[in-house]
Amino acid sequence: MTTALLAIPNLQARRINVLEAVFMAILHFLAYLPVCALVLILGKIVHSGIGVITWEFLTQAPVEGMTKGGIFPCIFGTLSITLLMILIALPIGVGAAIYMVEYAKEGVWVRVIRAAVNNLAGIPSVVFGLFGMGFFILFVGHHLDEVLRTGLLFGKPCMLWAAATLAILVLPVIIVSTEEALNAVPQSHRSASMALGATKWQTIRDVVLPQAKGGILTGAILAISRGAGETAPILFTGCAYFLPRLPIVKLFGIIPMINPMDQFMELSYHIFIMATQSTNAQKTMPIQFGTTLVLISLTFFLNLGAILLRSHYRKSLGQVTLQ
């Protein structure tokens, strides 16, 4: 062998190179296909929707049979219900996961709970909507009203029940990711803490949960992505066809806060209504695109916020060792 051989063109190698290049091109194309689909969808939405997005659109209520005005009540409703949903789902989900990982001995009951959680994740969302109406409104709500003598306060669709229904929908996501996060905490850290005289709960609070925080937040992100923008579960449980005022109540007559007992408008439901129930679906078309754009951006920013939060926790001490 001399280096001179390198200068002689090798035809066979060239043929293989061509084949390989074609093959690579096909794979490339397949890999980029989902990206193309995403770009096309987003492109269409942005292109048709961006025109209607004005300050007025974002801050006003819809008027004239939803063909004019803005979508502020829907934005407010979506944010409120997502917030309420996560406030309900996070403590329950994290609590359940802590129970399963830290307290319950592996056995029949834990397996039953786990099977239930997995099955919960597979149920179509419209079933949650029906369940929410039947359980929360007709059963829990009516009985609360009877017991508390509150007339018709709890026994009707409202944000609380819609959020509770959504919370059940996202519960499996939170439970599963919290379980994973807890299991990722080395057993040796629990032993070290217990050996120093910490109780089980002190160990969970001071050693386990701080390390699992990043993973739990990931669960919250996934839950928000899953829950925000869901239409079916809130369809029968609280969202309003048209409600231009905001679901706000003044606490002690001064401090404004979200009123969980009120109904609300919501972005995805609003899109559905405009597309299918509007007297003039054609006329609302640009608004539909605008609303979709707002919904997508909102979910995007919710996720982005949560991701930033998580990476902040990751960077803070020790999370380096986790992943």
Binding site: P186, G197, V207, P210, G318
Partner: protein, 274 residues
Amino acid sequence: MNRPETTEKNLKTEHKSGVEMDEALVKIKTRALSVYYGATQALKQVDMDIKKQAVTALIGPSGCGKSTFLRVFNRMNDMIPDTRLEGKATIDGIDIYSPNINVVTLRRLVGMVFQKSNPFPKTIFDNVAYGPKLNGVTNRSQLEEIVERSLIQAAIWDEVKDRLHRSAMELSGGQQQRVCIARALAVSPEILLMDEPASALDPISTAKIEELIHDLKKEYTIVIVTHNMQQAARVSDYTGFFLLGELIEFDKTERIFEVPKDKRTEDYITGRFG
């Protein structure tokens, strides 16, 4: 299994692995101590007197029950499902398995250092301050004082004093282990249990830990598990040799290594063990 009668008489009289020890100098005492994991018996009728402010080494082949024996004294075996204990274990004459013993208090009295260094992913300061905080110390300057004292005692202060508020995970293995020792010392225990504390360390770090053990015995009663015969010979005053859950021989370290009474002990320490 018949539970042996553990009367006062039984506690005072001589026992099979006989070292004569002044009753007043005994910190930990076990009599007919057996531990079961489900159906397997990990310790068989162990009698041992562990001397105050001395180092007692536990040696023996893998699986012979050394760690199990160690975990008897801070009741960490309690956390393993299906464990059962028979016989008696006392500290300063108090039965630590009596129903009115507070396990949390016991564990503050009996510190433990594990084989693999296991600092929390917190700052060095927070690692060492963890125990005192559990004890309700909240005063910052008091905490600082405890942390400094513990780190000095664990012979790591000079190496970490400028980085107390950096993560303990950034330290080397040997440094981490000494931080763990400091963490155990910070709650001012009287007894220190060490389960192969240097087995994952390089020779220099090991030498540092051994030196440290030598200093610590002035204040603490130390029980150390080791697989390293030279280490047992170097650091300990008493040595117990375990085999299949039985305490075969227990005596002054130099006697165990120079004139072992039992053939099996001799075989083990000379490395002729099958």
